[in-house]
């Protein structure tokens, strides 16, 4: 932007309401200097078209830059979202509008409530452990000498970089019901085999474990960035006051990281609630439907059973749950932001 040019620095600061007007005139000057032929041809600023004025507005440029993204979001997010709402209100053959019929049907099914419960267990426990492991490892890495940090950061990010479908398949081989590599080691050490995927409770544990393995590096990198932004002077002042490591963590690190923790948790909660790959590849919702989450159950009803409207209704149940969580978390973030400001 021309705001950095030497000539502009000499200009008196504008009144609040005139800000954009003044910047606009500065931009106009700069454009003229970039296009010498314009002045030579006798083209005066007043003769410029309305379109070129419009294009030189800061908000217009910003909008144009965002346009490809807006188009993608409109086509791939907003349209499908509204279409799925429309779809969820149709009958199975998609020939008749049935209002909230699919939703009320789902609410009357035991299996659906089990899916709700399992999705909550899956998402909440996975996000909790991802946050905990991310926080611990971020501290450990932050305390490493600068030379070794990059190497560890790179290695610990590997689970997050591998495509989830591939890593889930790898984990499935490790948990294979008949030829599990883990069980081979356990029996070699004299322990009993663990029914990783054939017992519903172990199967729940296994899918949560894989999700934590995959997602913890995201928390790690976010928390590491947050840790590095905490001013060193605060720790020095606390050390002078005689604070130990735990007190520094509780009274300095944690309050300074609260916003990033909240936003990371919210983001992860959304992604974990909507997870499909891990459960579908490892258990496909079994045994006894006891590992189904919203996405896999929606796939079962919508694609395998051919009831797209019911599948759409199932997946839409995530929306209010996540919206409520988002409102509370973001309200907390704003509140803390105001306190800090």
């Amino acid at each position: 932007m021309p705001a950095s040019s030497a000539g502009i620095r000499d200009v008196e600061p504008p009144a609040r309401g005139d800000r954009y007007k003044v910047e606009d005139s500065r931009m106009a000057d700069t454009v003229q200097s970039w296009v010498p032929g314009l002045q030579q041809a006798g083209v005066r600023p007043s003769a410029r078209s309305g379109l070129s004025k419009f294009l030189r507005q800061r908000s217009t440029i910003a909008f144009l830059f965002c346009l490809p993204l807006i188009a993608i979001i409109t086509c791939l997010v907003i349209y499908p979202a509204f279409y799925s709402i429309y779809l969820s209100m149709l009958n199975k053959a998609q020939t008749r509008f049935i209002g909230l019929g699919n939703f009320s049907y789902l609410l009357s099914r035991d299996v659906f409530w089990m899916v709700v419960q399992q999705s909550a267990i899956f998402a909440l426990s996975a996000v909790f452990f991802k946050a905990l492991i991310g926080l611990i490892t971020a501290h450990l890495i932050n305390n490493l000498p600068a030379k070794g940090q990059r190497k560890w950061r790179g290695m610990l990010l590997v689970p997050w970089v591998i495509p989830l479908a591939l890593s889930s398949l790898g984990w499935w081989w490790l948990f294979d019901p008949t030829h599990s590599a883990f069980n081979w080691i356990l029996t070699g050490l004299g322990f009993d085999e663990v029914p990783w995927l054939s017992n519903p409770y172990w199967a729940r544990f296994s899918v949560i474990l894989v999700n934590v393995w995959y997602g913890a590096p995201f928390f790690l990198i976010m928390y590491l960035a947050a840790l590095k932004s905490v001013p060193e002077q605060l720790y020095e002042a606390a050390a002078i006051d005689g604070a130990n490591a735990w007190q520094k963590f509780i009274h300095i690190t944690l309050p300074m990281m609260r916003n990033i923790i909240a936003i990371t948790v919210l983001f992860s909660l959304i992604v974990t609630f909507a997870n499909f790959d891990i459960v579908q590849i490892m258990t496909a919702g079994g045994p006894r439907n006891m590992t189904h989450v919203f996405a896999t159950y929606a796939f079962l009803l919508g694609i395998r059973s051919g009831d797209l409207p019911l599948g759409a209704a199932t997946s839409l149940f995530m929306f209010p749950i996540l919206a409520i969580a988002a409102v509370f978390i973001l309200r907390g973030v704003r509140k803390r932001g105001r306190e800090i400001g």
Partner: protein, 450 residues
């Protein structure tokens, strides 16, 4: 997704040859228009089997001056079903699409009636499998044509050496590779009670049978066949829920004993779990098409040499085997329907089927019993005749879990695996039989919404 482009459109010859074809053959009436025909076909797991279909379509395309283009779509991750669902939503895509299990019922409103083609085939080859009819004849109209490709039944696949050694049962003698030599007195002895007794002996000997109890089709199919043998009806044709019956209780009591001698991991098996079980040499028997035998032939030949496919055990209400046919459907938005019908008829001729069955080493199963005399099933080895009894023979009938309920209802029951969840609740969850039946009644009530 693999693809192969067959003949190129011979533009100048089209009108003349097409018109001639229209005059001489009953289903070539539209082929004179030539043009292109696109097929979305199930990607066969047997190496080289797709080539047989390529060849059949190329022959037909060359003869009729139609450019046939085939896309092979895997069923891994239900990609074929996703493709069909996407095409149905978009109203555009291939002309002909292969549909597994319940997909004809799911897309019935967008599938062209094929009564004329099926009528011709029945005239040529006699009655069609009742399971195929249940799945593809919707409200009196055939919306799909049963194809041999990928169609299967899931009979017993047993280690005859282990049965002989530990149970004193000679399965090869009981089900020889020649139906005319079937001895009713011997085959009648192969009952679910005998199966349980031998499963207990084999378990004791360290070679348990491996019967999947997850929520995938292998599990649903064999439990469905057993339920039929015991006379269990979940929902009848008139939407009456019938699961609360003595037959259901007897079947569940039986399954409680049978599952106790299965490996505990069967509750987590997918459709490949039982295959791996028999191939590993640990297992004595599964219920599956010959795919596991074919893989054993490659990976563990000694096991393959001792495998024998044979009929399912007989229950109080008969002998049933789970059948899972595949179909071809012609989309109503196809622009070359007449040519599509003609190709479907050509692909369903016995000569074409013989090529497909041979290419799939006997895995592909036609829906016409009159075609069960093809040479492939007699000659495949080792041991010679191993897959002879793969097609249902003797008194064995095919079954589909979900029938006789309306197919819309049956599809929900099948895809939600209500039968195997019932068994798992009883045998793994240790729930009481009455509680399991009560749960099933509530779930079945939900399926009636369809």
């Amino acid at each position: 997704m693999g693809s192969s482009r067959l003949s190129r459109r011979a533009v100048l010859k089209t009108a003349a040859l097409g018109s001639a074809a229209a005059i001489t053959a009953p289903y070539v009436s539209g082929v004179h228009a030539a043009g292109t025909l696109t097929l979305g076909c199930w990607d066969h797991w047997v190496p080289g089997a797709n080539k047989a279909l390529d060849k059949i379509c190329k022959e037909w395309g060359d003869k009729n001056n139609v450019d046939v283009h085939i896309d092979y779509i895997t069923s891994q991750g239900e990609k074929d079903k996703l493709t069909a669902a996407a095409e149905a939503q978009a109203g555009t895509g291939h002309d002909i699409m292969s549909h597994r299990d319940w997909n004809i019922q799911i897309h019935q409103r967008l599938l062209e009636p094929l009564d004329d083609v099926v009528a011709q085939l029945i005239k040529q080859y006699g009655p069609i499998s009742p399971v195929a009819e249940y799945l593809a004849k919707i409200k009196g109209t055939w919306r799909g044509i049963p194809t041999a490709i990928g169609s299967q039944v899931k009979p017993c696949q047993s280690r005859f050496d282990l049965y002989k050694e530990h149970c004193g049962i000679d399965l090869v003698d009981m089900f020889p590779a020649d139906e005319s030599k079937y001895d009713k007195a011997k085959t009648d002895q192969w009952t679910w009670d005998v199966y349980l007794d031998s499963a207990q002996k084999l378990h004791k000997a360290g070679y348990p049978v491996g019967l999947p109890m997850g929520q995938t089709s292998d599990a649903v199919d064999w439990v469905g066949a057993l339920f039929n043998s015991f006379g269990v009806v979940m929902i009848d044709e008139k939407d009456n829920i019938k699961v609360n019956s003595d037959e259901t209780r007897k079947a569940l009591e039986y399954l409680k004993k049978l599952m106790a001698v299965n490996p505990p991991e069967v509750y987590a098996w997918d459709d490949a779990g039982n295959n791996r079980w028999i191939i590993s040499g640990k297992g004595s028997g599964i219920m599956n098409p010959p795919s596991s035998w074919a893989v054993a032939k490659r990976d563990n030949p000694k096991v393959a040499e001792n495998i024998w496919l044979h009929a399912m055990p007989r229950g109080p209400k008969g002998r049933y085997v789970g059948q899972l046919p595949q179909f071809y459907g012609l989309w109503s938005f196809s622009k070359n329907k007449s040519a599509g019908k003609d190709l479907l008829l050509h692909m369903s001729q016995k000569e074409s089927i013989a090529q497909l069955v041979a290419a799939s080493i006997g895995y592909d199963l036609p829906s016409f019993k009159s075609m069960y005399d093809l040479d492939t099933w007699k000659t495949v080895e080792p041991p010679k005749g191993v897959v002879y009894s793969y097609p249902p023979r003797g008194d064995e009938l095919t079954s589909m879990f979900g029938a006789p309920a309306r197919s819309e209802v049956g599809a929900q029951m099948y895809n939600q695996a209500i039968n195997t969840v019932m068994v798992a609740k009883l045998t793994q969850g240790n729930e009481k039989i009455d509680d399991v039946i009560k749960w099933a009644e509530k779930e079945l009530e939900g399926t009636l919404r369809a």
